[in-house]
């Protein structure tokens, strides 16, 4: 898409010279105004507000007072922050490791054209249609050690204290997240695979490459940018996992699933500490931006160019 837009002015440059290109670009700049406007109102203004609040003491109800660096010092000295940070990164990395291979393989599989694959694809996508809160409530009911699936189906191995033992609860959170988001990433990979030119595979077949060789030498390299896109969404998205964990465990047992976003909510809205909660919000923004930039870098400088060029 970016390809088509950017080639048109380039062609014009050749014909009519630099002056009219500038005019054209100036006219196009105004088209970004509505987007800029909304970005300013709904992203920049709240961001500045949060930054200011992080230096204020406020219980969310009374008057706002100045706190200087107080909130920052107290949050940075709080072991709870490092627990939350560690959990956030742990869930992020393990989620990526679990979700990427599954959704990649499912995406490649469902990109095929047989009818049964279309039917299966519909089944795979079902979890995507449910809201996180509904998913969490359903899993909670199914896994209840006394009244859940275990007693219903008579499967004693299922009767674990799933949400009551720290490492089980953490594992379960990662599993439910994967269950919900694998379909989304499968969809992205499916689209990516369908973009790969058939001629590449035909050429490979003539050269005698098998399915596995084709996968590693054609599909995977061609999916490089799809992998980066999906990973960016996965990694940055994992910073905002909130609703699912909030409903499923509430951050417990103890603090074993209290990730950064949840920590922010609980400090702000449960404990009436808007200042410290804002500090965590700022930290979240910084981490999110850092991660997004890092992943963009991974893509290399040529990422804006077409992958299909030269074909």
């Amino acid at each position: 898409m970016s390809n088509a837009v950017s080639t048109a002015p380039r062609a014009a440059t050749v014909r009519t010279g630099a002056a009219s290109t500038d005019k054209r670009k100036a006219a196009l700049a105004w088209l970004t105004l509505p987007a800029l406007f909304f970005f300013l109102v709904f992203a920049v203004v709240p961001l500045v507000g949060v930054l200011i609040l992080s230096f204020a003491s406020w219980d969310g109800i009374g008057a706002i007072g100045a706190a200087g660096m107080g909130n920052w010092f107290s949050v940075l000295a709080d072991p709870g922050l490092y627990n939350a940070l560690g959990l956030t990164f742990l869930i992020m990395i393990v989620s990526w490791l679990v979700q990427t291979p599954i959704s990649l393989l499912l995406g490649v599989f469902t990109a095929g054209s047989q009818r049964y694959r279309a039917a299966l694809a519909v089944l795979y996508f079902l979890p995507l249609l449910l809201s996180s809160a509904a998913v969490a409530i359903a899993f909670k009911a199914l896994l209840d050690p006394n009244f859940g699936l275990a007693t219903g189906l008579g499967l004693p191995f299922l009767a674990q204290d799933w949400l009551g033992v720290p490492h089980l609860a953490l594992g379960l959170v990662i599993f439910v997240i994967a269950w919900q988001f694998v379909p989304f990433h499968t969809l992205i990979y499916q689209g990516g695979v369908r973009q790969i030119p058939k001629s590449l595979y035909e050429a490979a077949q003539i050269d005698g490459a098998g399915i596995i060789k084709q996968f590693f030498h054609i599909t995977l390299p061609q999916l490089k940018y799809t992998i980066i896109t999906s990973s960016t969404l996965m990694v940055v998205g994992s910073l905002t996992y909130f609703d699912l964990i909030f409903v499923l465990t509430g951050g417990g047992p103890g603090n074993s699933t209290r990730i950064l976003a949840l920590d922010m909510y609980l400090r702000g809205f449960r404990a009436n500490l808007m200042g410290p909660a804002s500090v965590i919000a700022v930290i979240l923004v910084v981490i999110g931006l850092g991660l997004a930039l890092f992943l963009q870098r991974l893509g290399g400088k040529d990422k804006q160019g077409s992958q299909l060029e030269g074909l």
């Binding site: 105004l33 406007f37 203004v45 109800i61 008057a63 006394n146 949400l163 609860a169 047992p253 809205f269």
Partner: protein, 442 residues
């Protein structure tokens, strides 16, 4: 050379637009629900869930049809969602006229931020209304000697429920002392029945154990010192002993397996008791109605037993002391118009605890906080339970409000978090006391 100029101009244009944007968003804000109660009535937010929602709706309907000029518009919210929403609404200056709550620490934050009206003078003008309610119900409505809320609904102490059938089968009596508790734990575990049901994921459920144990061990003075923010109040030896007793009970498998993943919202803890999976349950009397409704004649057939919390040998607390919710509360938003406030006060006086509402509460197994209802309680099919609750509330030398309501929201959240870890044994009683001590005055 031309291009940067253009972009600077567009940025300037954008900067010029910003005030409009801010004006537009604030304009949207002020037309929220707060000012939408035209016609002179008052708005009220209340909790959804039966039987209270229907009771309140009937009371409001009756009041509205008798008071055409002072109509009450009520909106219902789920309990946990409400607690967050009301706080946000008050902070944003969008509170309803009538603010429903549980008194205590939260009401204190509202009062100190001048968000709710002082009702002391109004109660003095209406002495009959003040005399109508249990005197103990005003404690949690009072901040710095002034009354900021109208007590209403019912008193809900925490009591020890037990399954009579299981006790008969085991040939044992309900516990009178902590030693009885520990020996019953062994008896029921040997029978393959969980001694105590507990919805530990909700955390305030576990808190009820601490409230009673601390009272029985150290007397009401220990928590009063905490409440008043006295230095090192949490480091009292009674707090450590309470924590130790809790962890002993957890280690002896006193609570049902998997208790920390059970929530009270789903009433799974009540179900464990009436289905015979657990022998006892420490819970608020508000669970009685639910067990009566969902327990398939468990209550109706007299299988539900109830006693006061046992004593602890050598403890200082009076065994008659109670803990729980002395009442529920309603305040008036100081941001409401005079007309709205007037409607709210009229509703407080004539609309809330009417005879019909009192009867409805009694029928649903609750004891309304109204004096002189002994005769009514005696005619109810649940009279044994209702009289037990009534006597407990009336005769308690000290009735401690639930800690998470009594403390400030900041301290309460830290408390619930630390209690969770205490029950998981991931912190020691000493660490619990120290962690909580750091929250004093917050």
């Amino acid at each position: 050379m031309k291009q940067p100029q253009t972009s600077r101009r567009s940025f300037l244009a954008l900067a010029a637009l910003t005030p409009f944007a801010v004006a537009a968003t604030t304009a949207c804000g002020t037309s929220g629900p707060g000012s939408s109660s035209g016609g002179g009535g008052a708005s009220m937010w209340y909790l959804s869930g039966e039987p209270n929602q229907t009771t309140m709706q009937k009371a409001v309907d009756a009041f509205n049809s008798a008071n055409g000029d002072n109509k009450i518009a009520v909106t219902y919210f789920q309990n946990d969602a409400y607690k967050t929403k009301i706080k946000t609404a008050i902070g944003a200056g969008q509170a309803p006229t009538i603010i429903y709550g549980w008194g205590g620490g939260t009401l204190k934050t509202y009062a100190e931020a001048n968000q709710v009206d002082d009702l002391t003078g109004w109660f003095e003008e209406n002495p009959d209304l003040k005399k109508k309610f249990f005197p103990s119900s005003f404690g949690a409505a009072t901040v710095n000697g002034k009354i900021y809320a109208l007590p209403n609904q019912y008193v809900a102490p925490i009591v020890l429920f037990y399954n009579k059938e299981l006790f008969e089968k085991a040939g044992v009596q309900p516990p009178k002392t902590w030693d009885d508790v520990m020996s019953l734990v062994k008896t029921f575990n040997d029978m393959g029945v969980a001694p105590f049901s507990l919805g530990g994921q909700s955390r305030w459920t576990s808190m009820m154990w601490l409230e009673y144990l601390l009272d029985r061990i150290g007397g009401p003075g220990v928590f009063n010192a905490i409440f008043e923010g006295k230095p090192n109040a949490w480091l009292d030896p009674a707090v450590i002993e309470t924590g130790t007793k809790i962890q002993e009970l957890v280690s002896a498998e006193g609570f049902i397996k998997g208790f920390s993943s059970i929530t009270a919202d789903s009433n799974a803890d009540q179900a464990l008791l009436f289905t015979g999976k657990a022998a006892m349950m420490l819970h608020g009397t508000w669970t009685f109605g639910g067990m009566k409704k969902n327990g398939q004649n468990f209550v109706q057939n007299g299988k539900l037993g109830f006693v006061q919390f046992p004593t602890v040998p050598g403890g200082k607390g009076d065994p008659k002391n109670g803990v729980g919710n002395p009442a529920q509360y309603m305040s008036i938003s100081s941001k409401a118009s005079d007309k709205e406030k007037e409607s709210a006060k009229k509703f407080f006086k004539d609309g809330i605890l009417t005879e019909t509402v009192i009867d409805t509460y009694i029928n649903s197994g609750s004891v309304p906080i109204v004096n002189g209802i002994e005769d009514k309680l005696d005619t109810s099919p649940d009279k044994d339970f209702l009289n037990f609750v009534y006597d407990l509330a009336k005769n308690a030398p000290n009735f401690q409000q639930s800690w998470d309501q009594a403390l400030s929201p900041t301290a309460a959240e830290a408390l619930l978090n630390n209690i969770d870890q205490l029950f998981l044994k991931s912190i020691t009683p000493q660490q619990f006391a120290e962690n909580m001590n750091a929250t004093l005055g917050k």
